[in-house]
Amino acid sequence: MSSMTGIAARWMAGYRGTPVSRAFGSWLGKIAGGFLVLLVLTAIFAPWITPFDYAAQDLTNGNAPPGWPHLLGTDQFGRDVLSRVIYGARTSLSVSATAIAISITAGMTLGAAAGYFGGFFERAVMTVVDLTWSFPDILIALIFVAIIGPGLTSTTFAIAIAYLAQFTRLTRAQIVRLKRETFIEATINLGAKPHHILLKHLLPNAIAPVIVVGMLAIGDGIVLEATLGFFGLGAQPPTPSWGAMMSSGTAQLFLSPWVIIFPGVVVAVTVIAVNLFGDELIRALDIRDRIRGS
């Protein structure tokens, strides 16, 4: 009998328009979302907006401090840091986003199957998933890269695997919860086949929290990519990625700190923006309850 209260509260929170537009509603959402949009545009148009070729070396002008024409200075090979940071957005964002997309797809499939079929299958999947979930993600990623070899593709898959458990758990939790909803029983009672239930009801309803958590995980993915870069894995030189730049010889921290300070700052700001916007989305979609506990 309190559902009126719920609806009223949502209306009062501005429960109008699409979730994304609602997430943009608050000033925090505007700033964070705006930054992210800008970042994605930067990544897409990187080749046109970088002032220099990100790979062009000028060994005579290595480690130049920020100034003109290299606004953020140059690295030890004399490459323009600004151009590399801009291009790095491309690598870091696409690696992380692709990884999470893969992770979501696989995780949803596994989680949905586990949640839907239940029984031994579910227990087996969830045992493995819980175990990997409790393993430090960096270890999972490191082992995986060690097995299939370095490179952006393997980094992408490593990140995907490191976060697979999270999405599997989340999806399964959603499905198990949804399975108990009356409308599922009602649909079964209409004579619906299992695939109809799964594809037309369970998955569409489970997807929103998974996407939002996925969005938050993109931030974690960027950090993980950076950490893999610290171990010399990930983007292969001279391709710039933020992680690779941040860890390109920590000696640089003293000699030419701008080489690793700037990418670090960009990572921090991006991840914060991702988190803030994700929080706004959660609020807009009103799915805080559903995300919890996974």
């Binding site: 009998m1 009126m4 209260t5 609806i7 009223a8 209306w11 009062m12």
Partner: protein, 316 residues
């Protein structure tokens, strides 16, 4: 004992409650009825001073309790009243007790807080009260956890907590809605007895007209955040003045004769965000005239009761 006058409650820009007035004497039972969302719980929360918990605020009106206006009572003083002279019984016994704590300490807390008892005195009191509420083996019950008990039992524990400090006024917000009919009957009977034995004043909030008919001395009928009619229980049932009250009574299956027909009230209850102008009931009222859509009706005295209607007493 308790007199509420022109109470208005707001959450930010919306005012889900306005113009609620009623009064209550010692030993009296006042029923507040109305459909879901009509503001019954808000009224209870206002009296208990618990509105700030959910972010609400009393914007107008007064709540006089024993000669003192509660609307501007500072929180520490209010805290003394709550659980002390003002007891609350909530709607859902299933979720009203802390599931992680044993029953005993939860009830003891009241006596310790308001009567300044030590642990063993408080426990003795708890056992005594549980006993008077006809709970078998009160001693062992104290060591049980809430989930080990049935709904009716839990509701009695909640009542015991409300009674532990000998309150003057008991506010019961739908105390039986979540319970089975047989259990409901027990609880209602229990409350009735308590009012008589202890000379309590009881505010009984419910959406069930039959419960009101069975227990109350006075009734307030609420609709869309407003009290639209109040008066002695007989008057309300015999000669309801407000069309809404009339319609509400018509919705109850008497279950005895075959020739009656339920019709319901056409339309839907308005939402806080689109409370109609004028008389809140006018869009669903068969008697509505132009004025009903523009002017908020004032209370019109009728017998011992009052109804806020431009055309009171008109047959539906």
């Amino acid at each position: 004992m308790l007199e509420v006058r022109d109470l208005e409650v707001a959450f930010g820009p919306v005012a889900p409650l306005s113009g609620v007035s009623f009064s209550l004497e010692k030993g009296e039972t006042l029923g507040i009825v109305g459909e879901s969302g009509s503001g019954k719980s808000l009224t209870a929360m206002s009296v208990m001073g618990l509105l700030p918990l959910s972010g609400g605020r009393i914007t107008a009106g007064s709540i006089m309790f024993d000669g003192q206006d509660l609307t501007n009572l500072p929180e520490p003083a209010y805290r003394k009243l709550r659980g002390g002279r003002l007891g609350l019984i909530t709607q859902n016994p299933m979720t009203s007790l802390d599931p992680l704590q044993k029953i005993g300490p939860q009830v003891d807390a009241v006596a310790r807080l308001h009567l300044g008892m030590n642990a063993s005195e408080a426990r003795a009191r708890t056992v005594e009260i549980l006993g008077t509420l006809r709970i078998p083996e009160p001693g062992t019950i104290c060591n049980r956890y809430p989930h080990q008990m049935s709904g009716g039992m839990k509701q009695r524990i909640v009542i015991a907590m409300a009674l532990a400090a000998d309150p003057d006024v008991l506010v019961a917000d739908e105390p039986t809605t979540a319970l089975d009919v047989t259990v409901q009957a027990q609880i209602i009977r229990l409350l009735d007895d308590l009012v008589k034995e202890r000379d309590l004043s009881l505010v009984l909030i419910t959406h069930d007209m039959s419960v009101v008919a069975q227990t109350c001395d006075k009734v307030v009928v609420m609709y869309a955040g407003r009290a639209i009619e109040h008066g002695p229980v007989e008057a309300i049932f015999d000669a309801p003045q407000h069309p809404y009250t009339q319609a509400l009574i018509g919705c109850i299956p008497k279950g005895l004769s075959d020739d009656e027909h339920l019709t319901g009230i056409p339309g839907t209850v308005p939402n806080v965000l689109n409370y109609p102008k004028g008389c809140p009931f006018h869009p669903r009222c068969t008697q509505a005239k132009e004025i009903c859509a523009t002017d908020v009706p004032a209370f019109v005295q009728h017998g011992n009761g009052q109804a806020a209607c431009h055309f009171p007493g008109a047959p539906q």
